[in-house]
């Protein structure tokens, strides 16, 4: 076991998978020098053919990843900030997501997209958004939202090996989080949730960077004998419905905690799942604690007011358990 940051976990996963399969390659803006450090040093190990700086041309290089994947390689494509995906929407949603199906299964689409999402303090609306909801209703994509270094490494490796297009969302505020990661080959399957904390009174389904915050709230409430179970779905597509539902079956109460927006968001999707398939387990309404439906504002007090936060999660839990 070695202590590793979230960013280092990405770097390790990339280096290991690139060493394993010579048809993998990395491309994106500034991946050679690597602004956030995730691709640092890959150029020295794998050279310029497999580590490519792209022009600032998201539609172009994301589309090139689609073509390269269809032609038999395994691209790992970095889109810096998740909001920049908007510049390449057609290539992700119309092309990467659909072509395997529309070709009657002829096309393989083993692309891994990486991007940084979420608020990291004063980055304003075009660099702070949680955009996975925008992809939730695009059939054909897999969506991965790792909440810690160990999951990041294991999930990213699985994403790279997957023959479908997978988007891995890295929270910008988690970059420096560190923990021990299992030594040797470490894979986490896509579609398997993790129960991060066992509890009895209420289930909190927390996504991405909300997981460590939910755990903090759970710690605090434990002192008052409010026992919170924290479930991290880890992947939104595929979604591990069984783990979520069996947790709610035990606790009879559910809150979904997400940094995305409320309308059409991941929390809304998961709440609907619990409402539909877990109705008989519930003692009260499913609560959604999310970011307000506003663009993320720049000024710190406004940003704080907009974002999903621990205080609102705590209030929702207290309301459900009546304490």
């Amino acid at each position: 076991m070695a202590v590793t940051t979230y960013i280092q976990a990405i770097n390790q996963a990339l280096a290991e998978e690139m060493a394993r399969d010579p048809l993998t390659f990395v491309m994106g803006e500034d991946v050679v020098l690597s602004a956030f450090g995730a691709t640092k040093g890959l150029i020295d190990k794998f050279g310029p053919t497999r580590v490519r700086n792209t022009p600032i041309a998201e539609a172009g290089f994301v589309g090139a990843a689609v073509g390269a994947a269809m032609a038999g390689t395994r691209p790992i494509c970095e889109v810096e900030f998740a909001s920049f995906f908007y510049c390449a929407f057609d290539q992700v949603c119309n092309q990467a997501a659909k072509l395997r199906y529309m070709s009657g299964g002829q096309a393989r689409m083993p692309i891994t997209f990486r991007c940084v999402y979420g608020a990291m303090g004063g980055a304003a609306a075009q660099h702070s958004e949680t955009v996975y909801a925008q992809f939730l209703s695009v059939a054909g994509l897999k969506l991965v939202v790792p909440s810690n270094p160990s999951d990041m490494k294991g999930l990213l490796k699985s994403a790279i090996r997957d023959d479908n297009p997978v988007i891995v969302f890295e929270h910008g505020a988690l970059g420096g989080h560190r923990e021990e990661i299992p030594a040797g080959e470490h894979l986490v399957p896509l579609g398997k949730a993790a129960v991060k904390r066992v509890g009895e009174h209420v289930t909190v389904v927390a996504i991405g960077a909300m997981v460590p915050r939910a755990l903090k709230v759970a710690d605090r409430l434990a002192k008052e004998n409010i026992s919170v179970e924290v479930v991290d779905p880890r992947t939104l597509i595929p979604l591990d419905e069984d783990t979520i539902l069996s947790s709610v079956e035990k606790t009879n109460r559910a809150v979904v905690f997400d940094e995305g927006h409320l309308r059409g968001g991941a929390a809304t999707d998961i709440a609907a799942l619990i409402g539909e398939k877990g109705f008989d387990f519930l003692d009260g309404p499913v609560r959604r604690v999310t970011t307000l439906d506003v663009p993320i504002p720049f000024s710190p007090p406004l940003e704080k007011a907009a974002l999903a936060n621990e205080a609102r999660l705590e209030a929702a839990i207290r309301e459900l358990v009546g304490r």
């Binding site: 803006e29 022009p55 600032i56 041309a57 172009g60 303090g121 609306a125 075009q126 000024s299 007011a305």
Partner: protein, 324 residues
């Protein structure tokens, strides 16, 4: 072109305001008094200034993530800009936008933008609006060399050319997009040659010579206003500072350019160039320049004080200005 003294002094004031504002903003961001991502234009004062000097008040501009210079050159107030950078309620966008998103409609500033290449179609649409409304206003569109590789650049130039729209596309080529040298990701050495593909005029301009920028911009603006369509200007320049304030924290020991290169460009400082011109022209005295510098220092100090003393927005304002 014989330029009058007032115009020359206005351009000097604009460049001085940009230089002093940006230097201060860099320091305040380094000291964490300004949150978020901050990109400054030190060394790139002449392109913004020369272009905006060729515009009239009702003309419009679109800007970029590195937008302070364009806003100042178009007449932006330092106090409301600084307050916005501080996230204060008195800022141009009530604290909702920040450094990358300052807007002032009263001055025709349609906005800085956090998305590279986003300003190009917006400027094209702004020019279209002038045609539809029949106002003869021109739109100047600032963008970087990096943005010229986005699809929006190519789509916008074609659209503006086909519809003969009154827009001037101004590429500030500072040689880099983030840490990537332009030449490693761009098929042409000069962005201006891309104008050929759209059958519009394209000119390479010394972007550190405000008078040359002004001359080319005036010609392009006149052409646009006369209904003859768009022009592409490529202002060759250089950013003295990092891509973003504090980039060393990301880069560590890595670097993407040499100190020698930076120093060579510092020797071509747009303000020193102007000082020399002023001395040679005989039109402008050293006291004129000193007075402008002192006035700007006073203006800037007042702007910082205003920003510091202004209130932060109230949390309740978070849901204003949007449908929820």
């Amino acid at each position: 072109m014989d330029l009058g003294k007032d115009l020359l002094l206005d351009m000097y004031r604009s460049m001085t305001r940009i230089r002093l504002f940006e230097t201060k903003v860099r320091d305040l961001a380094t000291a964490n008094e300004i949150p978020g991502f901050v990109h400054v234009s030190i060394g790139e004062e002449a392109s913004a200034t020369g272009v905006c000097a060729a515009l009239r008040k009702t003309d419009r501009i679109t800007s970029t993530h590195r937008g302070h210079s364009h806003l100042i050159a178009k007449g932006g107030r330092l106090d409301r800009m600084m307050a916005e950078l501080f996230g204060k309620r008195t800022g141009y966008c009530k604290g909702k936008g920040g450094s990358m998103h300052i807007v002032d409609f009263s001055l025709g500033i349609l906005g800085a933008n956090g998305i590279v290449g986003a300003g190009l179609p917006i400027a094209t649409g702004s020019a279209l609006a002038a045609v539809i409304a029949g106002t003869e206003d021109v739109t100047a569109c600032f963008f970087g060399d990096g943005a010229s590789n986005e699809g929006t650049f190519h789509e916008s130039l074609n659209l503006a050319a086909v519809w003969k729209l009154p827009v001037v596309f101004v590429c500030e080529n500072n040689g880099f997009g983030e840490f990537t040298p332009m030449r490693t990701v761009t098929s042409v050495k000069d962005i201006a040659v891309r104008a050929k593909a759209y059958d519009i005029p394209g000119h390479i301009v010394d972007g550190n010579d405000v008078l040359e920028v002004y001359r080319y911009a005036s010609e392009a603006v006149a052409r646009a206003r006369a209904g003859e369509g768009p022009t592409l200007l490529e202002c060759k320049t250089y950013r003295w500072e990092g891509h973003v304030v504090g980039e060393q924290a990301f880069l560590g020991a890595a670097s993407y350019r040499t100190e020698q290169e930076v120093n060579e460009w510092k020797a071509r400082c747009p303000l020193i160039r102007f000082d020399k011109f002023a001395a040679e022209s005989g039109k402008i005295s050293v006291t004129d320049l000193q007075r402008i510098k002192q006035e700007t220092e006073v203006e800037l100090e007042a702007a910082i004080k205003f920003a510091r003393e202004s209130p932060l927005p109230d949390a309740s304002e978070v849901t204003e200005d949007v449908f929820t």
